[in-house]
C-alpha cells in the first residue's frame, strides 16, 4: 500500500491528471496496461501482493486479488493457494487457480485439506475438471446435511466423476448431474455404457426424459437412434417429442429424420405428433414431403394450420397454388398467414387465381392488397363496379393496396361520380394510386383534376397527401369547406400551422381539432426552442378542453427549457386530475433533462407539487418519478444572494436585486426571471420588454454585473426614463448593452457599441469576456454628466447636453435628454442575457 501511495503522490505532484484524482481507476489502468505488456507484469503483481498483505478491509483485499487474477501465471499458484484459505478471498482466488494451467496439485491439496468452504471448493473442482478430487467430493456429497454443499458436490461430481460409486450416488440423488456425468463419459467415448445407463431415465420426470433422450440420441448407433426417434413420435408428451426431434436432427441429420418420421407410419400417429412433425418439416425447409403436407391439410385443425405454415416456409410453385386454393376453405387463416410472407414473387399465381375466381375473392384481394400486387387491380376494379353491395364492399376494402398511377384516371371518374356514402373508400383508393409518385408530381396531377371534376372537394385529401407548400395554399383558400379543413389537419407540412391556428380562433366548432393538430405540427417541425414554447403557449390559451390541454402538456414535456418548465408548472393546480398529472410529468421530465438553469424556488415549489401527485399515484413508474424528483431536489445548490461590499454599505448603497426577487421592480416581469441569484432575460421574440425600478432617480451611481449566454445579445439600461417609451429617445438615454463582438454586428456604428450612450456618446470599444463569464459595470449620472465603467475601465465620460449641442451623432431627436428624473430600466429583447447584483447609490436631486 505504501508503495502505491508513494507512486500516487508522485503522480499528484507531477501533474494533476484526471486519473490521479481517482486512485482505483489509476490502479486498474496500470493493471490493464501490465496485462498487455508482460514486462510490466511482475512488478505490478509484486505491488498488488504488497497491497493485499496490507489491506485492512477484506472486500478491498478481495478486489485487489481480482486484479491480481488478471495477471496471474503458473508462478503465482502458491500465492493464490494461500489467498484461497482466506474466506474473504476464496471465491476469487479459487477461480483464479482453476483458470491456470498446472494448478491441479495445489487445488487438490486445498480440497483434501478442506482449506476453504466446501461449496466453493466444489465449484473450483468442477471449473478445473479436477478428477483427482472425486473421492473427497463424493465423501462430502454422501455425508453432508448441508443442502448447498450437497448440491455443489453433486454438480462437481457430474463434471469430474468416473467411478461407479459416483454414478450410483448421482443416479439416486441428482438425475440432472447424473446426466451431466454420462454426457462427460460420452465425450470420452464410452457410448455403450452411457446408452445403457441413460435409458432408465427415460422413465423419469419430463425434463429428465428430455435430457436423457438427447444424450441417448448422441450415444446410440444410428439404427438404434432411429428406433428411439420412431418410438418418441408415439409418446404422449409434446415437449419430449419435440426435444427428440431436435436432438435427432443434430445427431442423424435432417434427411435421416425425415425418412424415419415421414414414412407410412405417419398417418397412424396422434394428431399432436403429426403437428410436431409438420412443424419440423417447415422449420427445416424440407422440400420432399409435398404429398404428406398436402394430406395434412385435410387433417385436424392444428395439423392443418401447421401444414400451411410449413408450406409457407418451404415455398415453391406447388405449395403456392395449394395455399391459394386453401383460402376458400377452413384453413383460410393459416393459409393467408403463410401467403403473406411466401417467399419470392407470387403475383402471377395470385393474378391468375383472381381472374379465374376459383377461391375466396375477398381473401385473394386482401392478399393482393397487402403484397401490393398491382396486376390484380383491374380485376378488383371490375368487382368494385359491381352493383351488388357486398361484392363492391369487398373489393373496395382491398383496392388501395393494389392501385398505382395507371389506375388514377379510372379512379378519378369513379370518385367524382360516387354516391356520398362511397366517397371515403374511393378517396382512399385515389390517394393510394398516387402515393408512389414524388410529391410535386402528385400535387400537379391533383390540381389539374380539380378543374375537370364536379366535386373538387373530394380530391382535397389527395392534395394533403402530396404535402407540398402549394397544397397548403390551395387548401387554405378553400378552408370554409369541411373537406379542405380535414385535409389541412392531415397534411404533413409546417406551413399548415398558421391557418390552423387561425381556424381555432375563428371557428369554435373546429377549435379542438385545429389546436390538437397545431400542437402536433409545432412538436414535429419547430426546431427553435423559444418559438416552440411560444407555440405551445398559444395552443394552451386556445385549448377548449382538458384532453387537449393534456396533449399539449405532453408535447411540452419534451421541451427542456426553463420557460417550458414554468409554463407547465402553471397547470399543477388545474382542477382536472389528468391535467395535473400531465403537468407533473412535464415538470419532472424537463427538470431532469434541461441544461438550462431553473430557479431553486421554482424547482422546489413546482417539483414539490408534482411529487405529491406522483406519491398519490401509486403506480410502478410513479415510484421512480418520486425518486427522480428527490434526487433533483437533493442536488440543489443554494442560490447565491448578492451582498453589498462593506464600502458600499458605508457609502449608503441600496441593493436593488440580490437574487431573491424582483420586489423593487415593475414592468415586464414575465420577461425577466430571477433564477438562482441571477436575472435571466427571456423577453419574448420581437417584443420590447422593459423592467423598471420602482423609484425614480435623478443622480446616482448604478452598479450591476452582466453575462452573455449567447452571441449577439442585445439590451440596455434606460436612464431617467418614463415608463412605456423608448428610453434611448424619450428617456435621458439608453446605455447600450450589446455583444458587439458577435459576427452579425460586423458593421456596427460607433455609437452602438456596448456602453455607448446610444446615439449620443460613443463608448470606447472594449473586448467582451468570453460567453458565460461575468463582467462588472457602473453607470454614474450627475446632472448632465455620465460615466460608464466596465470591468474597471472607463469607457464613457461625457456630458450629454454638450454632446448633443450641435446635433446627436445618430441624427435623431432625443427629447428626453434633459429629463429631470425618471426610472432606471433594463430594456431590450431576445434571450441570452444574465444580470446580477444590481445596486444603486442615490446621490439625490441637487445638481
Amino acid at each position: 500500500m505504501k508503495k502505491i501511495l508513494s507512486i500516487l503522490l508522485t503522480l499528484v505532484l507531477a501533474a494533476v491528471t484526471a486519473l490521479a484524482q481517482h486512485p482505483l481507476t489509476e490502479l486498474a489502468a496500470r493493471v490493464n496496461e501490465a496485462s498487455a505488456q508482460p514486462e510490466k507484469s511482475a512488478a505490478m503483481k509484486a505491488e498488488l501482493k504488497q497491497a493485499i498483505s496490507e489491506a485492512q478491509d477484506p472486500s478491498y483485499a478481495n478486489f485487489l486479488v481480482s486484479q491480481f487474477r488478471l495477471l496471474a501465471g503458473e508462478e503465482d499458484i502458491p500465492q493464490l493457494a494461500e489467498y484461497a484459505q482466506n474466506p474473504a478471498l476464496a471465491a476469487t482466488a479459487l477461480d483464479a487457480l482453476a483458470q491456470l494451467e498446472g494448478s491441479e496439485e495445489a487445488l487438490l491439496a486445498l480440497v483434501q485439506g478442506e482449506k476453504a468452504d466446501r461449496a466453493q471448493l466444489c465449484a473450483a473442482v468442477a471449473a478445473k475438471g479436477l478428477f483427482a478430487a472425486e473421492p473427497t467430493v463424493l465423501e462430502w456429497a454422501m455425508n453432508t446435511d448441508d443442502a448447498a454443499v450437497k448440491a455443489a458436490a453433486s454438480a462437481a461430481l457430474g463434471r469430474i466423476g468416473s467411478s461407479a460409486e459416483t454414478a450410483n450416488f448421482l443416479k439416486d440423488n441428482s438425475p440432472e448431474d447424473y446426466i451431466n456425468l454420462l454426457a462427460g463419459w460420452l465425450e470420452e467415448g464410452d457410448a455403450e455404457v452411457v446408452a445403457k445407463n441413460v435409458r432408465p431415465l427415460l422413465k423419469g420426470s419430463d425434463h429428465i426424459r428430455t435430457a436423457a433422450a438427447g444424450l441417448l440420441m448422441q450415444a446410440l448407433p444410428e439404427k438404434k437412434a432411429e428406433k428411439l426417434l420412431k418410438a418418441a413420435m408415439t409418446d404422449d408428451n409434446r415437449a419430449y417429442r419435440n426435444a427428440v426431434l431436435t436432438e435427432a436432427d443434430a445427431a442423424l441429420g435432417t434427411e435421416a429424420v425425415v425418412a424415419v418420421v415421414a414414412d407410412k407410419s405417419f398417418q397412424k400417429l396422434s394428431d399432436p405428433a403429426k403437428a410436431d412433425i409438420v412443424r419440423y418439416l417447415g422449420n427445416h425447409k424440407v422440400g420432399t414431403q409435398s404429398e404428406l403436407l398436402a394430406t395434412c391439410l385435410e387433417g385436424d385443425e392444428e395439423t392443418a394450420a401447421a401444414a400451411c405454415e410449413a408450406m409457407g416456409k418451404i415455398g415453391g410453385e406447388y405449395f403456392l397454388s395449394r395455399l391459394i386454393g386453401e383460402l376458400g376453405g377452413s384453413n383460410a387463416d393459416a393459409a393467408m398467414r403463410a401467403l403473406l410472407s411466401f417467399p419470392g414473387d407470387i403475383s402471377e399465381a395470385v393474378t391468375e387465381a383472381a381472374e379465374k375466381g376459383t377461391t375466396s375473392m375477398s381473401r385473394l384481394f386482401t392478399l393482393a392488397s397487402t403484397r401490393h400486387i398491382t396486376e390484380v387491380a383491374p380485376v378488383a376494379l371490375r368487382y368494385a363496379d359491381s352493383h351488388d353491395v357486398d361484392t363492391h364492399a369487398m373489393a373496395m376494402r382491398s383496392l388501395s393496396g393494389m392501385v398505382g398511377p395507371e389506375q388514377t384516371a379510372a379512379l378519378t371518374s369513379r370518385l367524382d361520380q360516387a354516391a356520398p356514402a362511397d366517397v371515403p373508400a374511393w378517396q382512399e383508393a385515389f390517394a393510394a394510386s398516387l402515393s408512389t409518385l414524388p410529391a410535386s408530381e402528385q400535387f400537379d396531377k391533383v390540381v389539374d383534376i380539380l378543374h375537370d371534376v364536379r366535386h373538387p372537394e373530394r380530391f382535397y385529401a389527395a392534395l394533403a397527401q402530396s404535402g407540398t407548400d402549394d397544397a397548403v395554399k390551395v387548401l387554405s383558400e378553400a378552408i370554409e369547406t369541411d373537406e379542405a379543413f380535414d385535409a389541412l389537419l392531415k397534411i404533413e407540412n409546417y406551413k399548415a400551422a398558421k391557418p390552423l391556428l387561425e381556424q381555432a380562433k375563428a371557428v369554435p366548432a373546429r377549435c379542438e381539432k385545429a389546436v390538437s393538430r397545431y400542437t402536433e405540427l409545432v412538436q414535429a417541425y419547430e426546431s427553435d426552442p423559444v418559438r416552440k414554447r411560444i407555440g405551445y403557449a398559444k395552443a394552451l390559451e386556445l385549448a377548449p378542453n382538458a384532453a387537449v390541454t393534456q396533449k399539449i402538456l405532453l408535447a411540452l414535456s419534451y421541451l427542456p427549457t426553463m420557460k417550458a418548465f414554468q409554463l407547465a408548472g402553471r397547470y399543477l393546480d388545474d382542477p382536472e386530475l389528468g391535467t395535473r398529472a400531465q403537468a407533473a410529468n412535464a415538470v419532472r421530465r424537463i427538470a431532469s433533462k434541461t441544461t438550462e438553469e431553473i430557479d431553486n424556488k421554482d424547482l422546489q415549489t413546482l417539483l414539490g407539487k408534482a411529487r405529491v401527485l406522483f406519491s398519490d399515484g401509486g403506480g410502478a413508474d410513479d415510484g421512480y418519478a418520486v425518486d427522480e424528483i428527490d434526487k433533483i431536489l437533493s442536488e440543489l445548490k443554494p442560490a447565491p444572494v448578492s451582498q453589498l461590499t462593506d464600502e458600499e454599505k458605508a457609502q449608503g448603497f441600496e441593493m436593488l436585486f440580490d437574487g431573491s426577487g424582483l420586489d423593487k421592480w415593475h414592468g415586464d416581469l414575465e420577461g425577466y426571471t430571477p433564477v438562482n441569484g441571477t436575472l435571466y432575460v427571456s423577453a419574448g421574440y420581437g417584443s420590447t420588454g422593459n423592467l423598471y425600478t420602482n423609484k425614480e432617480y435623478r443622480n446616482f451611481v448604478y452598479r450591476f454585473e452582466f453575462c452573455f449566454l449567447a452571441p449577439g445579445v442585445n439590451n440596455g439600461v434606460g436612464v431617467r426614463t418614463p415608463e412605456g417609451v423608448d428610453a434611448a429617445y424619450k428617456g435621458m438615454c439608453e446605455v447600450q448593452i450589446l455583444d458587439h463582438d458577435a459576427p452579425q454586428y460586423a458593421n456596427l456604428r460607433e455609437y452602438q457599441v456596448h456602453g455607448s450612450v446610444y446615439g449620443v456618446i460613443p463608448a470606447k470599444r472594449i473586448v467582451h469576456k468570453p460567453l458565460g463569464e461575468w463582467s462588472t459595470e457602473e453607470i454614474r449620472v450627475e446632472g448632465d454628466h455620465i460615466t460608464v465603467t466596465v470591468n474597471g475601465e472607463v469607457i464613457v465620460d461625457g456630458d450629454v447636453r454638450k454632446a448633443a449641442a450641435k446635433g446627436t451623432v445618430d441624427g435623431r431627436e432625443h427629447p428626453g435628454l434633459t429629463n429631470k428624473k425618471g426610472f432606471i430600466s433594463f430594456c431590450g429583447h431576445g434571450e441570452g442575457l444574465k444580470i446580477r447584483n444590481v445596486r444603486i447609490l442615490d446621490l439625490g436631486d441637487k445638481k
Binding site: A123, A127, A151, R238, A305, Y624
Partner: protein, 453 residues
C-alpha cells in the same frame, strides 16, 4: 394489420375469477363439484390465437416472477389472462415482496405465493414459467436452474452479465428442451425508437440489397437512440448499515462481497460492473438486437471491438464516447455516447449505395414503393405462450439472445480493459488477450457458482 397480429393480439375481456391454487387442488375440487369458482364457458375462452381450441382452466399456464422491485412489478407483468396466470413472486427485499402481494390483491384480485429464495419459486410445482426480473448478475444462474427444473423461461435483458454465463444458458436450454424468451422485442414489433417505423421495412430494405454491402449502423442520439448515461456508479460509497428488510447477501448472490450502500442496489445497480454495465447493459440489447437481425447476423459475432472512453473505475461504471464493433465482412455497429454524438445529418444505416436516416428518411428514391413490393420477412413465432404450448423456439430465443448479449458484453470487456479487443466467433474467445478471456467467466461466490457449471 397482418392477420397474424390480429390473432395474437385478440383479447377476451373477461376478469379472471379463478382462484390461484395448485393444479392438483383444482383437479381435486373439480371432481367434487365446483365450489368457490366458476369454469368459464367454452365459447368465451375459445376462439383465441387462431387456434380456436378450448383453453381449459387446468391448461392455463402459470408463472412466477423473481424480482419485483423494478420492471418485475409493472402492471404489465402482474396482469394475468386466460392463457397464463401469475401465481408466485419472489424478492430478497421484504418490502418489495409485501408491496407485490398488496398489488396482487388490490389491483388484480389475486393471492400470490411469496418466496424469499428464488430456488423455492423455481421448484414450485405450481409454476410453469419463470420470469427472471432481477439485476443481470443473477440471470445466468437462475436461467440454468430453471431449465434444470424443467421450467420455461422469460428473461429480462441483458440476457447475462458475462459471455460465459450466456454459453451455459444456451447449453442448459438445449439439454432440457426449454422454451426461452428474452424480453426485448423491437426486431419484430413496435416503433423502433428514432426510426419512426418498425424494424420490418428496414429489414426489407437491407435484404433488397439497395443499400449495398457492407453496412455501418450508427446507434446514437443523432440517429434517434439515447444511451442512458445516468446509469453511472459512484466512486465515493461509504459503508452503510443494511436495511432490515433486505437480505443483502442474497441480493449479491454470486457477486463479490462489497459493503452495502443504497446506490448499489435496487434502482441504481446498473452503475456497478459487478451487477451490470451501465446504460450499455440497460439499453444494449434493445438497440443492438434488432441491428443483429437487420444485418442477418443472428449466428455471427463481431471480430473486433474498439472503445473510445476514459479509463474506467473498476467498480463504478463510467461514461464512454464511442464503441465500434466490426464484423469479418466489414459491417460495423457504432455506438455514440451521450454528449459525443456526431453532428449534422447522420445516417442510421450507411451502405455503399444508400443511406437511411432517423425517421426512415432514405437516399433511395421511391424506397417505400420498393419495400412494399417485397414479401414480408419469414413469419416468426412471436407468441411466447403458443411457443410454450407447441414447444417451438420463440423468435428471440436464448441462442439469438446470447449472440446479441455477447455484443454488449464484449463491449463491456473492452471498456473495462481500456483497449481494442479481437474476438474469434468460432471459439467465442478473445484473440491474444488473456485478461479479456478472464472476463468471459468471472469469479462467483459459493454456493451460486456451482449452479451454473
Amino acid at each position: 394489420m397482418k392477420s397474424e397480429d390480429k390473432f395474437v393480439n385478440c383479447k377476451v375481456n373477461v376478469k379472471s375469477i379463478i382462484m390461484a391454487e395448485s393444479r392438483r387442488d383444482f383437479l381435486k375440487k373439480a371432481g367434487l363439484g365446483i365450489a368457490g369458482f366458476t369454469i368459464l364457458p367454452r365459447n368465451v375462452l375459445g376462439a383465441m390465437n387462431g387456434n380456436k381450441s378450448f383453453t381449459a382452466p387446468s391448461d392455463q399456464m402459470t408463472r412466477g416472477i423473481i424480482g419485483v422491485g423494478g420492471i418485475g412489478k409493472s402492471g404489465l407483468h402482474f396482469a394475468s389472462d386466460e392463457r397464463c396466470r401469475l401465481v408466485a413472486i419472489c424478492d430478497v427485499d421484504q418490502k418489495h415482496l409485501e408491496s407485490g402481494l398488496e398489488k396482487g390483491r388490490k389491483q388484480f384480485n389475486t393471492e400470490l405465493q411469496a418466496y424469499h429464495d428464488f430456488r423455492d419459486l423455481i421448484h414450485d410445482p405450481n409454476v410453469d414459467i419463470v420470469h427472471i426480473a432481477t439485476p443481470s448478475h443473477w440471470h445466468g444462474i437462475m436461467a440454468v436452474e430453471a431449465a434444470r427444473a424443467g421450467k420455461d423461461i422469460f428473461c429480462e435483458k441483458p440476457m447475462t452479465r458475462t459471455i460465459g454465463e450466456g454459453q451455459k444458458v444456451v447449453e442448459a436450454c438445449r439439454k432440457y428442451g426449454t422454451i426461452f424468451r428474452l424480453d426485448t422485442w423491437f426486431r419484430f414489433k413496435d416503433t423502433f425508437y428514432g426510426l419512426g417505423t418498425t424494424v420490418e421495412p428496414l429489414k426489407k430494405l437491407v435484404d433488397s440489397g439497395l443499400l449495398g454491402w457492407p453496412l455501418t449502423v450508427r446507434i446514437s442520439g443523432a440517429t434517434g437512440f439515447a444511451w442512458k448515461f445516468f446509469w453511472t456508479g459512484r466512486e465515493d460509497l461509504t459503508p452503510q448499515p443494511v436495511p432490515a428488510e433486505l437480505d443483502y447477501d442474497l441480493w449479491l448472490g454470486p457477486a463479490p462481497y462489497k459493503p452495502y450502500h443504497p446506490h448499489r442496489v435496487h434502482s441504481t445497480f446498473r452503475g456497478y460492473w459487478d451487477y451490470e454495465s451501465g446504460g450499455l447493459g440497460d439499453m444494449g440489447q434493445h438497440y443492438i438486437d434488432p441491428v443483429q437481425y437487420l444485418l442477418g447476423k443472428d449466428d455471427d459475432f463481431p471480430v473486433k471491438v474498439e472503445v473510445d472512453a476514459p479509463a474506467q473505475h473498476p467498480d463504478a461504471v463510467g461514461t464512454w464516447r464511442s464503441i465500434t464493433y466490426t464484423y469479418a465482412d466489414g459491417c460495423k455497429i457504432i455506438l455514440e455516447g451521450e454528449g459525443y454524438e456526431s453532428t449534422g445529418k447522420v445516417p442510421y444505416i450507411e451502405g455503399p449505395k444508400g443511406k437511411v436516416y432517423k425517421g426512415f428518411e432514405c437516399t433511395i428514391p421511391n424506397v417505400m414503393e420498393v419495400i412494399n413490393e417485397l414479401p414480408d420477412p419469414a413469419p416468426r413465432h412471436t407468441d411466447f405462450l403458443s411457443c410454450v404450448q407447441n414447444r417451438q423456439h420463440f423468435a428471440l430465443d436464448e441462442i439469438i439472445g446470447y449472440h446479441s448479449a455477447t455484443i454488449v458484453n464484449i463491449g463491456a470487456c473492452a471498456l473495462r480493459l481500456g483497449r481494442t479487443l479481437n474476438f474469434d466467433p468460432a471459439t467465442q474467445r478473445f484473440i491474444d488477450d488473456d485478461a479479456a478471456n478472464l472476463l468471459i467467466n468471472q469469479p462467483m461466490r459459493a454456493p451460486w457458482a456451482s449452479m451454473i457449471l
